[in-house]
């Protein structure tokens, strides 16, 4: 199978959907000729013109709000939010408007929009361009949240997002834009709410999202050298969350480590860990462990920044401990 970058996969997904459906348009800062700072959208404006690939002023709440109104009236906007950190700017339009319109109107209004943005630290971009804020929006009922973990996932999930009748926020790992993965030439969709078991194992379940899937894959390799057989589950979408696949895995392995790049406190790891604790309690032979980003703003200095996110070493270390009945925290 051919291999393409995540960036190219996103570009293909949008182009294919724009060809298929004339109501789909792209809106955001520097999305047209510039093709975004990450060069994800290059070539779209040439094919679809400036009417459908719309450069905006630097006014995130403004174009986010306009996307909501456009979505309510027959269009399917794909909003480009240059950095995940700018979510804070669009929170009212996203959470008070887009997320609630369908429910609050008794099902009469629909807001089929996609907000594409990114997550991920270690790009040396400091605290306002490095955050992973998906938990923040996943907390708000009425939006769906997708977290692709590879080029393949990015394309399939984005196409599904564009066809969804609801607001969908899709977070791409900005460190993965240039990473290649096998992506079929033929069209495919990845349904929401279906976790992927990326590696089967018997000793510990590593539940990992987005950027952390790769981290867990390399942790699993090193664990296998010690005879520890890790299973990796990628939820793909955290809203809706397919917890059944996660629970099945944990019932099998009796141990779970949840790894996500959002801040550890009050985050995705906490949500998944508590579902495991609630629904698979009697199958647990070790405490469910959360591994998220440290609860600090992301520091600039590489030496400091690299400490803030889970690494394969950290994941493997914790996995070894719980598989050997050692304590991670005091008993």
């Amino acid at each position: 199978m051919r291999e393409i970058t995540l960036s190219k996969a996103v570009n293909e997904a949008i182009a294919e959907e724009m060809r298929r459906d004339h109501t789909v348009f792209v809106i955001g800062e520097d999305v047209a000729e510039a093709g975004t700072p990450f060069k994800v959208l290059g070539g779209l404006v040439e094919e679809f013109g400036t009417d459908r690939v719309i450069d905006t002023p630097i006014a995130e709440p403004g174009f986010m709000g306009m996307a909501v109104g456009a979505a309510m009236t027959g269009s399917r906007p794909v909003v480009d939010l240059m950095f995940g950190d700018f979510l804070f700017l669009v929170m009212d339009q996203l959470c008070n408007q887009a997320a609630k319109a369908h429910f609050m109107s008794g099902g009469k209004l629909k807001v089929p929009l996609v907000l594409r943005t990114n997550l991920g630290a270690t790009r040396r971009s400091a605290a306002q361009h490095s955050q992973s804020l998906h938990a923040l929006v996943a907390h708000i009922p009425g939006v769906k949240v997708a977290l692709p973990s590879s080029a393949y996932e990015a394309k399939g999930l984005l196409k599904t997002a564009i066809r969804d009748e609801n607001p969908v926020i899709i977070f791409e790992d900005k460190l993965m834009y240039n990473e290649k993965a096998p992506v079929p030439e033929e069209e495919y969709l990845i349904p929401f709410g279906k976790s992927a078991v990326l590696r089967e194992g018997t000793d510990v379940s590593l539940i990992a999202t987005s950027s952390m899937v790769q981290v867990c894959q390399s942790a699993a390799e090193s664990l296998s050298e010690d005879g520890i057989n890790a299973e990796i589950v990628d939820p793909r979408t955290i809203v809706p969350l397919d917890d059944e696949t996660i629970l099945c895995s944990v019932r099998k392995t009796s141990r779970a480590i949840v790894v996500d790049e959002g801040h550890q406190s009050y985050g995705v790891t906490a949500e998944i860990a508590s579902r495991i604790a609630e629904k698979a309690f009697y199958h647990l032979d070790a405490p469910v462990i959360r591994l998220g980003a440290m609860d600090i703003p992301v520091p600039f200095s590489p030496v400091l920044e690299d400490l803030t996110v889970p690494t394969p070493g950290k994941v493997a270390d914790v996995a070894r401990k719980i598989c050997r009945q050692e304590l991670v925290h005091a008993a």
Binding site: P57, T73, G74, G106, K108
Partner: protein
């Protein structure tokens, strides 16, 4: 009210009836609140009827509006019926929003109302986006964004007016300046001129007497047509007055506005009286005609209230209904 009659009498009767319907709805809403039959609070539109009716009478069903927390008037003016509105007000299953919206989100979406927004200034992006959508999809729909003077303090307005002006979007920003931003005089919260804000973006801005339904309608009709021709966006400041407080519970208002001022607007500047007098003056309707119209509306309203009070609440099984929209296919 200087305009000479230019429409047929059917049009004028409809305008009068729509304004009277808003007043009757609000009087009943107030009564429901005072008799503790209505959950929550409500913000009454009484006194501002000429704004909603004057503008909405210039719109088609396919044109879009966005409304505010003081939205009953927009809802009625854009074509909603009493029965489903009172049901919504009381949180009943047959309400326009199945009881999930209530007073602050009441909207008849089938008539192009994109929702009443309880975030002040929250709908400006939506109205502008609907105009963008109309332009992209090639429909000739025009959007009207209703908002109050208080919302001019929100930054979103400036972001979307900028883009609307850049892209010549068919949207009309209708600022209902009723003189008060909740419990504060507008002069205390808005520096400079309201219309100058739009003019800074090169948007043509107008100021109009919001108590004169014919003046409002005439201006709106012109601007809507020009929007359809791609000459938008426009900005209109409508000078008006709310006869009640900020909401039904805002009874003691002496600290921010005088009884004399309220009495003056009630006796001299009530838009329904002004228009009724104009109809009599131009011999389009007799006082008896107008009394009869109001009596008929009152009966309709009373029947709708009675219906809504007896109507069923949503089934508890609906509590999670419509969290997400289902796929179309």
């Amino acid at each position: 009210m200087s305009a000479t009659p230019r429409h047929n009498s059917e049009f004028y009767f409809r305008v009068y009836r729509q304004m009277a319907r808003i007043r009757a709805f609000e009087d009943n809403a107030n009564k429901l609140y005072l008799t503790a039959k209505m959950p929550g609070l409500t913000h009454l539109y009484s006194g501002e009827e000429a704004v909603a009716v004057g503008i909405c009478e210039a719109l088609r069903v396919t044109d879009k509006i966005t409304s505010t927390h003081r939205g009953h008037g927009h809802c009625i003016a854009k074509g909603a019926n009493f029965k489903h509105m009172f049901c919504e007000l009381l949180g009943k299953r047959e309400g326009y929003c199945r009881g999930k919206g209530g007073s602050m989100h009441i909207a008849d979406q089938s008539n192009g109302n994109l929702g009443a927004n309880a975030i002040v200034g929250g709908s400006m992006g939506i109205a502008t986006g609907a105009a963008l959508s109309a332009k992209l999809l090639g429909t000739d729909a025009v959007s009207v964004c209703f908002f109050g003077d208080g919302a001019t303090a929100q930054g979103l307005m400036y972001e979307v007016m900028n883009m609307a002006a850049l892209w010549k979007l068919p949207v009309i920003y209708a600022c209902e300046n009723n003189g008060y931003s909740e419990y504060t005089q507008t002069s205390e919260i808005a520096a400079g001129s309201i219309t100058a804000r739009a003019e800074a973006f090169g948007i043509e801005a107008h100021e109009v007497d919001g108590q004169d339904v014919l003046a409002v309608n005439e201006l709106a009709a012109q601007l809507v047509e020009r929007c359809r021709k791609g000459e938008g966006p426009f900005f209109v400041e409508l000078l008006t007055y709310r006869l009640h407080g900020h909401h039904v519970g805002d009874i003691n208002r002496d600290y921010y506005r005088s009884k004399e001022e309220e009495d003056h607007w009630k006796s001299e500047r009530d838009p329904i009286n002004l228009f009724g007098n104009w109809l009599i003056e131009h011999q389009i309707a007799s006082n008896g005609d107008l009394v009869e119209i109001r009596r008929e509306i009152d009966d309709n309203a009373a029947a709708a209230v009675k219906y809504a009070l007896a109507a069923a609440y949503p089934d508890p099984s609906e509590v999670e209904l419509h969290l997400f929209a289902e796929p179309m296919n």
